[in-house]
């Protein structure tokens, strides 16, 4: 009885694996095809740059404290005036700044990047395409 249940369960679990693997692979392949906008960078590219990248987190403090890209500095528009001083103290002018927020339709990373470029006149600022969601492998 139990053996029958176990055998059938294993079969159902295995059958479900087939479309899941196909679906997962298709999604990964399709993601790579999305075009980049000006000032954006793909995660794979940013990863290649390794230690040359300084990650900038444009999300809320609550999200930043919960989880973030390791080594990221918090700089968001809610607390810009308070955060910009400490950010610039930690900032290494030889590194490329890559700004991220949630991903999807989140605009915060673009807005923080624009402020870094326009207000502070820091060059070479990029926005991570796909945001934090991309980092988490979505």
């Amino acid at each position: 009885m139990i053996a029958r249940a176990a055998r059938q369960l294993a079969l159902v679990l295995a059958l479900a694996l087939v479309p899941a693997v196909v679906s997962g692979a298709w999604q990964l392949a399709w993601k790579k095809a999305e075009p980049l906008a000006a000032g954006e960078v793909r995660l794979a590219t940013a990863r290649e740059w390794g230690a040359r990248v300084q990650w900038v987190d444009a999300r809320s403090r609550a999200k930043f404290e919960r989880t973030r890209i390791p080594g990221a500095l918090l700089l968001n528009e809610d607390e810009w005036d308070k955060l910009v001083g400490p950010f610039l103290d930690a900032w290494d002018a030889d590194k490329t700044l890559v700004v991220y927020c949630d991903g999807g339709s989140c605009e915060a990373s673009h807005q923080v990047a624009a402020r870094l470029r326009k207000d502070l006149m820091i060059g070479g600022v990029l926005v991570l395409k796909g945001g934090f969601a991309e980092w988490q492998g979505l």
């Binding site: 009885m1 029958r4 249940a5 055998r7 059938q8 369960l9 294993a10 079969l11 159902v12 679990l13 059958l15 479900a16 694996l17 479309p19 899941a20 679906s23 997962g24 999604q27 399709w30 999200k63 949630d102 991903g103 999807g104 339709s105 989140c106 969601a133 988490q136 492998g137 979505l138």
Partner: protein, 152 residues
Amino acid sequence: MAGLVIAGLRLAVAGVFLYAGTLKIWDFTHLRSATPDFTIAIQNFRLLPSPDLALLLAVYLPWLEVTAASALFIRRLALGAATALLGLSAVFLGAVGSAWWRGLDIACGCFGKENAPADFRFLLLRNTALLAAVTVLFLHEWRRPSPTPPHP
């Protein structure tokens, strides 16, 4: 009479899981994959140690729901399917209960704030009813004699 009830339950349970599973695979409103949204939804429950695990589950679970729901109608797989759905229902109920207990906000899609927080009582009630229906089906399949011929 009992046969009609079982048939009705089978149809209803299969329908629910088929519908729910499909929605977690494809976002019909925006015509795109629903996996990123489902991955975030799983992460909101804060039960898994790594985001990679959440992604794997987000890809696999919906297909398990769809496969098991379909397999309910195949005699040789019905017991396995009911077992899988029993496990899924129990896990979903446990996850919602755990989130409710810890006061988590699981409605936030994290791209903005929703107006109303998740209605936990409704979710718990719905998942309990589902678990009950699946349990009845499981017990029916468990007690059903095996269709394979006896050993010589």
